[in-house]
Symmetry: D2
Subunit: 436 residues, 4 copies
Amino acid sequence: MDIFTELESEVRSYSRSWPVVFNKAVGTTMYDEAGNEYLDFFSGAGALNYGHNNPQLKKALLDYLSGDGIMHSLDMFTSARRDFLEAFDEVILKPRKLDYKLVFPGPGGANAVEAALKLARKVTGRESVVNFTNAFHGMTLGALSVTGNSLKRGGAGVPLVHATPMPYDDYFDGDYPDFFYFERLLEDSGSGLNLPAAVIVETVQGEGGINAARVEWLRQLSELCKKHEMLLIIDDVQMGCGRTGDFFSFEEAGIVPDIVCLSKSISGYGIPMALTLIKPELDIWQPGEHNGTFRGISPAFVTGAEALRRYWSDDELRDATIAKGLRVESWFNTIAAHYPEHKLFAKGRGLARGLQFPSGELADAVCKAAFERGLLMETSGPEGEVMKILPALTITDAELDRGLRIIDESVRAVLGEPEANDTADLNAENMENAPA
Amino acid sequence: MDIFTELESEVRSYSRSWPVVFNKAVGTTMYDEAGNEYLDFFSGAGALNYGHNNPQLKKALLDYLSGDGIMHSLDMFTSARRDFLEAFDEVILKPRKLDYKLVFPGPGGANAVEAALKLARKVTGRESVVNFTNAFHGMTLGALSVTGNSLKRGGAGVPLVHATPMPYDDYFDGDYPDFFYFERLLEDSGSGLNLPAAVIVETVQGEGGINAARVEWLRQLSELCKKHEMLLIIDDVQMGCGRTGDFFSFEEAGIVPDIVCLSKSISGYGIPMALTLIKPELDIWQPGEHNGTFRGISPAFVTGAEALRRYWSDDELRDATIAKGLRVESWFNTIAAHYPEHKLFAKGRGLARGLQFPSGELADAVCKAAFERGLLMETSGPEGEVMKILPALTITDAELDRGLRIIDESVRAVLGEPEANDTADLNAENMENAPA
Amino acid sequence: MDIFTELESEVRSYSRSWPVVFNKAVGTTMYDEAGNEYLDFFSGAGALNYGHNNPQLKKALLDYLSGDGIMHSLDMFTSARRDFLEAFDEVILKPRKLDYKLVFPGPGGANAVEAALKLARKVTGRESVVNFTNAFHGMTLGALSVTGNSLKRGGAGVPLVHATPMPYDDYFDGDYPDFFYFERLLEDSGSGLNLPAAVIVETVQGEGGINAARVEWLRQLSELCKKHEMLLIIDDVQMGCGRTGDFFSFEEAGIVPDIVCLSKSISGYGIPMALTLIKPELDIWQPGEHNGTFRGISPAFVTGAEALRRYWSDDELRDATIAKGLRVESWFNTIAAHYPEHKLFAKGRGLARGLQFPSGELADAVCKAAFERGLLMETSGPEGEVMKILPALTITDAELDRGLRIIDESVRAVLGEPEANDTADLNAENMENAPA
Amino acid sequence: MDIFTELESEVRSYSRSWPVVFNKAVGTTMYDEAGNEYLDFFSGAGALNYGHNNPQLKKALLDYLSGDGIMHSLDMFTSARRDFLEAFDEVILKPRKLDYKLVFPGPGGANAVEAALKLARKVTGRESVVNFTNAFHGMTLGALSVTGNSLKRGGAGVPLVHATPMPYDDYFDGDYPDFFYFERLLEDSGSGLNLPAAVIVETVQGEGGINAARVEWLRQLSELCKKHEMLLIIDDVQMGCGRTGDFFSFEEAGIVPDIVCLSKSISGYGIPMALTLIKPELDIWQPGEHNGTFRGISPAFVTGAEALRRYWSDDELRDATIAKGLRVESWFNTIAAHYPEHKLFAKGRGLARGLQFPSGELADAVCKAAFERGLLMETSGPEGEVMKILPALTITDAELDRGLRIIDESVRAVLGEPEANDTADLNAENMENAPA
């Protein structure tokens, strides 16, 4: 591995947790060069919702490449782009009665966020944006300014301004009414809060520790935005594309954001792509006012369109994701109940799930133990205190259970075997899947 | 084309110049759905230096995809990443005796720039950066703040600060000594210039109008940076990967920047990828301080490594690029000489070439005329007054000449046939290739 | 009055409420050119704590001026400056065992605040500052950025950044624990709050609506600052110099701020002067790093020193101020009790007192009615909903009662005569002074 | 002097150069407590243009104070304010056919500058301002951002943004055309210069080293501002009130700025006061949008009005100032001619005069030598390399000559006696006053 450590910057991180060289992957399984198998509960940080090298997408991609289809086209019209647009319109927008225009903002999630912030500021003529505690929106300067993590913010090298953090749902463990502070600041002309152009929010904070906002909270936030004429930007980069069940994570709340950011799994195959959806009345951009080289990557259009048609023409994937998510929750609740003294607790929605530990050290130790047992997962949260899983939505029940068993073993390896009576009061429903 | 105009934001631009739907491309030729052929002198804005669907790269890519190699891996160790690192080290760094560490900053050129600016600020503890008139570095907030174009800057929606523009080479047509103003400000403690963390510069400004800095100017800039302890960042996103002849555009000047940004053609196949090269002593980042989802796109590694080995193991491509560039220059000089009253003039270096017109309208009209004749090229410069070509480096001489003839015809179509005696004094060397 | 309205900018404000031309003033009485008398409950917004043309200060001033003492000296050593320093040391600092160094930051309160912010940032190396809802700290750019009022903030013309507002004491009417949000943000490394260099606070928010923080709240704030190594800046520009009773408004809380800002009544005679007190260990400035023309205005030193010796060598003024303040509070409570349906309530500490109305219109109408009856007072609060009085600390009991009676009459004129039984339950103590 | 050094912050500066305690002053003479006399060529950094304790102004002030006139009134109407307005209108504005509205922005020059910048930004809706190399506009955050000196800028503790420095007149010793760079940036939409709201400039840079702009340069700047719709702000805080001869320093250039900042000598007696003059069409402020406690200091109005009527009702002071300025210039030229090897040279306009030395050390040594000989003057310029004098405009010829002789002696004490033949070619006019 010398070439990696010699040539790459110290900024690399995942390779420190998983010091092996991967070379192949299919579905939910990754392989290293020594032939070892790993069950992947990380899924490219949510970029591989349909698994590695999904065979149906792979076929479409190989066909396209073999036929010398356009690979790269900026924002030129191409057949592949049209096909993607048609699929997105027919499979996603129309059935949901959503009226959005599409911006191809560049190849990554941060580009989708940067475009959203730029447009919100242009439309409103205001600079300030409200973000939430423990938000993560990306590493470019605009996206970073609305991100919470202090290590990452510190990397900016300039003061990050124009954003004010507000408490995310349940930031005070339910002790205070939602938005009591935000609303008060908005209504008080002496509060010192610059009136925001927009509010940017994740429905479930992935990097922030798998914090899932309640739908009531999202609805109230949407109302608050309307009342104070702030644009609502949903960053669905990690939680969109079915991660929580529905294609958009905000569907369950019945809200319609002004701007939506998509990336990660939108291409379905791990190829860089991003989308910013904007309400038509916000489309005041001049041609070329926002641009970029990697806005028309046809392989991403091809696999993206295929994924939409394959997985979103009916509710099968959605329903399965919700069911699997509940299964994970049961397991996590059971594990948590084993260790009442550690106050573990389960978090999340859909197949974005977390198990919160009292410290980052413990959560990290569990992930290490799982890696030794052939499972890939990472921690999140400000102190890395949340064990986080993002399995492929296409994972089989057997694979899911295998992974959950490894997690259970790993927790036991770190925290010790639970005392017998700790599990006495577990409810029956959980027990059938739960570890003894 | 209804689906495009209905669903896409008004921000789209290239599709306005070229209102056809492309579906295939090989080498330097693109095809639309009606079967029309276009000679591509645009090359994905420099992202396709080795042509569309380059057969050797295509084979490597298809083999990799067929074998279920890892597609997406963030910064995990993978075989594909190692192979790319080895190729980059052996083919690029070692022969040039360059000692850089590699940062994979995200999928696009703006990510490479954002990472460079962040690191420069972190290392020096200063915020301010010097950029140059008519610079273009990207559309994310950090990159945009060092970009010159006022339309694009205006899109930010927040004041762009922390950057001070200095005159690029020849900004005053040679009337003033190089850096006379910049150096004076640096040496004058009362100048009001915040001491910059870094200077960011393109060796040839592509978007800015194909302005090619002289090597003496680059050398002086490098000296100035050393003298005042500012880091020198070369943005080689468009001009690197052989666009000017050498792999790095700064090689000819014999300078060694502190930080180098690469993207566009680094993957060789139009797949998003970017690199930030940093001197080892600048590698003070903590693990994960800069990160991102699309930092380990294996298909890009595969085609990128193949391209490096195929085209940079010897000087053939480099020498051919320089020769072809001179050929273009001759043609452009000849065309310019036909219209002394319009004061056209040729610009550029290597195969980044421009022909400056007195107005954006004329340059645009020539591009339109060329499109009607089956040639794709765009304008650049602050007013779009420069006709700009970036042919694939792998273009054949015949294709190049065919394109140049179309350009000549297009200029004639717009400006009228030159008077006979206008060409009387053209030098012999130019005449052999030049239009009659 | 034509010359005023013709020549002065529309930005003038007080002259709109009191459209007469004043020409003389003694103690608590002002006179207009027509010879009308006004009882002054405004006192130069707190710059005239010892009354207009206080005879003892006047004598010292006339003597000094007659003797051709130095008038203006920047930061040169002068006899007048020494005398002021000695008086401040002996009368103020030593008896309170306070160890501060003095900065003369310029002539006004905003200069004191600007110097405080600059020093706090220099000492800590951080940019961000926490201010409070409804804070007022001045109109220069640095001071304005920590001010709450949106009209005034909007006047900046640039985004005001580097400051984050936190809820002031009782911002939520006691519904939530103090600092629950601020502390949570500080302790959560993912909160998105840039670690502040300092916290700047008024112990009683004058412009913000006569909001008086409880001493427990101030103590907790002081502890929070120590715990998180933020500097505590008390802006005592309006509330210092005895306005709340003690010379410093924070004495009652038993805290020792890192930096204290004084101005307004520090000269005692309405002559511009400001002071920034800093703990000795913060004195890291280089000579001249902060300077200004009006830092050594000797007449201000002369009247200032005289005022300190006359009024602060014993507790008489302090005790009288507190007693008068309580008297005002009783009256205001009584008035409020007359109108339960309007939910008026009394606010404030010492002789900074307010009566909150349900709307700015009502409070304004009462001030207008009082002006017609010969009393000067203004409104404050974000919507101007608080009737605010700042009588001279040297006001006689008779004058105070006369003014309070005018206020009572004015409230009746606006809200109507109270119903008889509304006053039935007023406590006996209040009744003896209160209106029938 | 213990009390000074013990109690005052290390930021104090003048007291380091002149370590005596001053106690009296009349006209151009200051006295220390030991009874020593000093000829004052510093004049409160320009705040004492009519000398110390000017008897006519003193009489008006004592009369006013004795009569219990209003001292402090914010922006209330007062007799003293009206009298000042009338004097300013009749003596200054009307004779010059200037149509300005007056803003009383606060007590000091920085307030005048802050108000000017705020209004310019509000009127234009732009944030950026152009300032000039070696500018000095004040120490509050807004004013500091347009100031050049790096020590003072560094004191801000936050990045100073929104301002771009341009070369002041003669910044390149006449080697380049005026505004060649500024104009180019404005006309080039790709320059990266944010279009400025305003240009702020001193006609003579006092702190910057007594750099006097030529009237042609000022005229061109005014034209440039009109052409590009930028507001022109003249900071006449130090150079106005007759310092260069005319009341306004820009009169000689025949230009009419959009906004003018006055302070320092506007009260005539060293009492803090400032004015911002704005063209009527710019008066878009809402009442109270900019305010402040010390905007109506009547003693300043009284002495200010008296000074205007006494000194500006005819051309006597103006003409005398210009004559004295030329006299100083002659002397300085003569002194410079004595030391050709040191390349001294005379700078300035009116009675703002400088003698530039090759280093700050030499200029400082000359000031020290002068102090020992009873003359007060300071250095300026980025390295303190300019010996700077600002005598009272009311200085007698005898006093002026006495001071100039001390300067000559001091230079000789530092640089040595000039060689005999060095003075051989001095012209006759200079010789009569010049040192042998």
